[in-house]
Symmetry: D2
Subunit: 487 residues, 4 copies
Amino acid sequence: MNNYNDSPHEECGIFGISLAKKQAAAGIVYHGLYALQHRGQESCGIIVNHSGLFTAKKDLGLVSEVFTPEVLSSMPEGRMAVGHVRYATTGAARRANCQPLEVNHLKGRLALAHNGNLSNAAELRRELELSGAIFHTTSDTETIAYLITRERLRQPSIEEAVEQTMYRIEGAYSLVLMSAQKLIAVRDPHGFRPLCYGTLSSGEGFVVASESCALDAVGARFVRDLLPGEMLVFTRDRVESRQLHCGRCPRTSCSFEYIYFARPDSVLDGRSVHEARKEAGRLLWKRCPAEADLCIGAPDSGLDAALGYSEASGISYEIGLVKNKYIGRTFIAPGQENRIDQVRIKLNPVRSVVEGKRIVLVDDSIVRGTTSRRLIRILKEAGAKEIHMRISSPPFRGPCFYGTDIDSKEHLIATGRNLEEMAAYIGADSLGFLVPEDLRVMAGTGCLCDACFTEYYPTAVPEDAGKSRFELPLQDPELPPQEKETL
Amino acid sequence: MNNYNDSPHEECGIFGISLAKKQAAAGIVYHGLYALQHRGQESCGIIVNHSGLFTAKKDLGLVSEVFTPEVLSSMPEGRMAVGHVRYATTGAARRANCQPLEVNHLKGRLALAHNGNLSNAAELRRELELSGAIFHTTSDTETIAYLITRERLRQPSIEEAVEQTMYRIEGAYSLVLMSAQKLIAVRDPHGFRPLCYGTLSSGEGFVVASESCALDAVGARFVRDLLPGEMLVFTRDRVESRQLHCGRCPRTSCSFEYIYFARPDSVLDGRSVHEARKEAGRLLWKRCPAEADLCIGAPDSGLDAALGYSEASGISYEIGLVKNKYIGRTFIAPGQENRIDQVRIKLNPVRSVVEGKRIVLVDDSIVRGTTSRRLIRILKEAGAKEIHMRISSPPFRGPCFYGTDIDSKEHLIATGRNLEEMAAYIGADSLGFLVPEDLRVMAGTGCLCDACFTEYYPTAVPEDAGKSRFELPLQDPELPPQEKETL
Amino acid sequence: MNNYNDSPHEECGIFGISLAKKQAAAGIVYHGLYALQHRGQESCGIIVNHSGLFTAKKDLGLVSEVFTPEVLSSMPEGRMAVGHVRYATTGAARRANCQPLEVNHLKGRLALAHNGNLSNAAELRRELELSGAIFHTTSDTETIAYLITRERLRQPSIEEAVEQTMYRIEGAYSLVLMSAQKLIAVRDPHGFRPLCYGTLSSGEGFVVASESCALDAVGARFVRDLLPGEMLVFTRDRVESRQLHCGRCPRTSCSFEYIYFARPDSVLDGRSVHEARKEAGRLLWKRCPAEADLCIGAPDSGLDAALGYSEASGISYEIGLVKNKYIGRTFIAPGQENRIDQVRIKLNPVRSVVEGKRIVLVDDSIVRGTTSRRLIRILKEAGAKEIHMRISSPPFRGPCFYGTDIDSKEHLIATGRNLEEMAAYIGADSLGFLVPEDLRVMAGTGCLCDACFTEYYPTAVPEDAGKSRFELPLQDPELPPQEKETL
Amino acid sequence: MNNYNDSPHEECGIFGISLAKKQAAAGIVYHGLYALQHRGQESCGIIVNHSGLFTAKKDLGLVSEVFTPEVLSSMPEGRMAVGHVRYATTGAARRANCQPLEVNHLKGRLALAHNGNLSNAAELRRELELSGAIFHTTSDTETIAYLITRERLRQPSIEEAVEQTMYRIEGAYSLVLMSAQKLIAVRDPHGFRPLCYGTLSSGEGFVVASESCALDAVGARFVRDLLPGEMLVFTRDRVESRQLHCGRCPRTSCSFEYIYFARPDSVLDGRSVHEARKEAGRLLWKRCPAEADLCIGAPDSGLDAALGYSEASGISYEIGLVKNKYIGRTFIAPGQENRIDQVRIKLNPVRSVVEGKRIVLVDDSIVRGTTSRRLIRILKEAGAKEIHMRISSPPFRGPCFYGTDIDSKEHLIATGRNLEEMAAYIGADSLGFLVPEDLRVMAGTGCLCDACFTEYYPTAVPEDAGKSRFELPLQDPELPPQEKETL
């Protein structure tokens, strides 16, 4: 379920278009970002390229809040544009960190929209600082921008500069870049984060997006996913592909995109997200069957897997929890903590459905377990006789260094608890998870990253990878130590 | 489905509390209104009674927009409070028309929260104007306020004044009233609109709400629905009931509350809304079977009936359409009308589910048919082989004078079309509706108003009942006709 | 000086136009209200009459804040419009109390913009309530609206209804009324508050305004002030005058309009405000001469009188205090109370001017004396040798019941202090005031109200005239006394 | 007069504090910026140094709009802070360009507040870009930040890095810099822009500000102006001075600071601004006497000089024009261009003063002359017999490259017109200016920059110095020229 305090957070969605001729490009990006809103709700932005001039609008807030009709109509027409929605993983939720990032350099302008996290960002940043770089933001994206623009001084083209940069950065990155003349899309050699492209009808232009649902939203025809390590360069009427020579990197796409992040109507690397989730539900039945009267999903992200579980088990699928669709980021609970259960405000059971029943409750994942605990309590208060909780993923074991914000290890429900203890903690009559191998069946491929479930990381791991690693107090070396202030 | 341009609109939700002792009453009402937000998204308001002084906050916008943490914390504690969410049926969406209405009169203050529409409002208003009344708003609620306060001059108590007023007003009204000392709830003799009450735990107080889901939201225990023609008077620790003697009125609860308006987790007059909708789906299968591979519901309001249809028919239930949960009132489509299908922005098909399949598509109702037509087109573009549209209500035939905003008759799909023509208009391979008698089975009672489906109205019908009947240009009789301006 | 905590407050400014043909009337009213902004900064509003339909925009805030270009361009064209700026004297600063007030009654619509305070408002309100009236606001204006619309039921025309109402209301009122067809301006028989009218060039229309500076602002030609007790009725191309027969009322125009309220570029009842203030300065020299090197005025309202004092005395006029022109209503002083003098933020001395000098400091009035005390301290800290404070009005002695918000009697500097004690309190080397008789010379007429200086009131005085008299807790008679809550 | 379309604009005001111990530093800066608001109304910002962590708040708008009580109370306590108010001269009015600028570099953090314009900015920027720098803003300040942080890699301390940077940048700059441990103030070797410092009472700390009026506002004691080419380094309890060895630079302080920019209550380089302006008025009488009845100043900036002219000439000083003090940046004039004179909305004549009189009208400067022409017309329409316009500065002849935004040469009234033609253009009966030599007497020093009056520039002049020189479309060298788009 989509609880704001007790589930992993996706970091970003990116979108870009290259059109055959100038038009209201911002409006198209707006629709694309709307479809990607689930990938980031903290800030959003669009930069339009109007004959080489960039016009940007970026701010904290949802796409519908930032891009009012007035704002959209004030943006110029253009032949290219990039857009971004963001949930802050590295760098706090501040206006300066909103994307796409725009920089000016000797050879022109560059706009960058980035999804992912570099695992060698700290080293690269230090190296840049040593050579005189200054940083305005605390995000990895500025590091990438620096590397590209510096390479650009040495390389004959922006493509070469991007390619050379790709040999230096490590970790997860799907990027859309826009120069005065070109739109460039890049997916990291591991293929951690999704990225695909399509064509607008009748040769009007090209669209790049994090997920295929954003192509659907703007009426574009899906062409294909970018390959890991691939760069696409879009010009007016053609697209060129370059493949990086980094054969050492095995493909390791993020398994959690299928489990929770992506929209069920998207197709990632050839696999329908909805089908993957249903399959996860079926596997869950095989792995952890239950004797029950009903099978219900925790809205919205547990519904697909619940349907699969029901199908495989023959246990009736039901709608047992109703979600308040007006709950937004702004929901608050002023001084009523004791009386009013915040989970109940978001999810209310259908008493006539659950009363006296043995229920399989399917959810996509558990982080701390507090939400599951309250959900089970609510269902039992509504009369449910038994709750058999089934999770369509393995338990979280460690952090993600590739762009997912998972709670710190000491808070994870699986830390220091065996299955029975976890079930007891959340108040379930039984509890079942998938095992990591099941994810390969679910995703239809073995090329997956499952590090958050297994702690086997496909890249070297940074030493200090906290979210605010660039926001700690820095110290000037000017003053003798005894003058330094304590926090 | 919850489309803002092509479905009937509910008018209002009301909420009131009477507590044993002063506390942060606004916070409780806030949670209650949050749960009732689906009944009205244009404006909302709360009035807190702080030792007889009223503090009001009302504005255009959603509950979460108007009642920010700052606003809530600035409201005083109180022993009583009333709240309202509104979709304008009579009276335009202007700030002056926001509710609850607050008036001062000789005997004190009165706050009113009203759900419904009077069918004799125009006559009553004229009569009041003839006796010197002036009106600040264009809503029926001000008329009710006038009648009550005038009666109050003649009657020994506010209860008597309300009762006398009930003998004069006709049509649909569920009301929560608050004087300096009392909270009063009233339901009209026909019982058109729902109203129920409950108790907060450990004798802390009473709660009145349009739907039981709002009682759940504040942790209150449901006691019962108000009877048609019943008045409840809440004081600190007890509740008194009065029954009006208006035996001529048969109970005629709104059938559309079950079909679309109410939340599925609410129980209205003893009938679970979710169960009613599932039953409607089952009846729909009996009334209009289809040969198909899958049964899908139009999110969100078609899902329950689709589940019932699937259950009765044995056709597999599937998730074939994904709704963008960030679509709000502010969604706009700047200059992309031709390219971008607005329905597709809200609902996107899951291609892997629908491709090559014969599909039963269940929705709750059809108004003009434009949304259904686009939905069917989208599904067919995604590869659906056949679409058998099934509607879990009868076709709309006429207007509602009791608080539902149905499109004007000439726009209704059923006006001038037979079933085949309707199916052809929306592009469905077949189309099926319930018949009015089915609604009795669905609701578990024969005491229903089905006037919008049958044009048999349970009250006298007003002559001119347009939404803006009080907003036409008025003419001063002072000037000779030849000086009058033309519009 | 214009200090927000330590000076009397003006209540309102009103403005109306009647045009020969439809045009962007709101824009003209906007300019007029801009010129009247000094008469009220809490809220403002404009109602445009568009062929009998009224479109209103009213809100808390300055004219420039409420009437953004978007708001203005969204208002329809019209042949008439009224506007209002408000500082709340009766009725708190709430949105519901914003003016112009708009009411609907049997014979049509009425908009009212009101400047002044009724002295018999409480009696009238009670009488209306007894006959069934309900009140939405706490302002006198709603009482006037009720009386007019009730009379309208009996009278053949709106003019007659207004005239009959004028026989019933007592106190200060300048009114602009707008019906569907007519614009009507009224000044009370005492002529407490100013009101004048003019013509737009080439017979295009008529303008009514509180002060002549607003006629200048819209390019209108001043015709004349309304007479006390006069009603003007404007129609397309002519204006008709009616004089009320209330001969018992002597004219008693507010003397404080000349001293402080009105803009110096206005002419009230034939007397230039700037000239009146200069004259007050000259009289002040005669009444209380001083031996000094320089004469400076407290910006902005003391400047004109300082110039007069300088002229009469031969003491050099200087600019000794500089006002921060960006100080607005929003100025706040977070947690710096001890260090930072709020008066100094607003007014800073010119050290080179004041250092070592004996200074006459002229201000228009003193309420509590706290501002004067800090001003004198600031000047002395900047090196001034002596400060001889001169006030171009007599000391305040009592409240005003006609629309001016003077501090309560116990706070007035003159309460319980003789001249020496007052001088000592503010730290002045000497202090001088005008006497009430001087005001007649200043204003060029004996027909003045000087009640706040003399406590001789020209009308009967209300028993309870507090600002919030309608906002005290009311009690319902329903409950026995022992159940009543205490505040 | 302070007209927003027809007068030169000042660019910035800067403010910094270094305190002995942590306290609510943002509140002190807020008061300082309030006093400097006249130096820039487009944007403002404060950065607080909280134990080495920087907390910034910057936005478009006035100090009172950006720094609401909520914002101020949300800022942490600190021992240092810098603030800035801005009118954009280089770099458009965009949020990204708001100051103070904050950058992160290898050795820590740096915040910069800058007043002035570099004359060699373009060369420096190109050089930086060649070495790999990327730019987020279009302002000179980012160039300075780069130079300092790059020097910092080579130099042992931040002071050395700033000093080395000062040898490279040319033009006008007053700077306040803040590192994690130090507050540094710098004034360019020409001393173009003012900068002074003072102490808070009882050794609590130090304050740096553009003008002394800001020291007064926070209750600080003025110590002295910075010398041209001086750097001050503030630590907890002491201040150290360094003097740059750039003897080739003659001191050339901006003369227009005395004429118009600075507040009259400030003292710049030992000269009271008010006294300088009065002196300018006296010189103006000597240079261009007039036979007249009255002398009036154009509010507010012409008032001091008018008083000097009156004093020298014996012609009576009068208040002949009243300024609407509510005119702000938001004033607009919707569709009333023909009827309503925008100058009249801001300034209204006092008819009783000007009627039938021969008037000397003193203003500080003329740019295009359109405002003067309308002002004279307004005074003549109010009955003035003769207008003798006197300007307390010489005519503008050329652009300023040091931070003042003067209209382009072809628009200046003095371009292509002799004195008679200028007088005729504005409709004056006579017109008189000061000559450049008078400015030396006015300012009490010969070390002045008068380049905008004489076109003798004290530094090399940039080739392309347009305001938006960094905002033209840039071109990527990737594509062959024939593919480049035309604007």
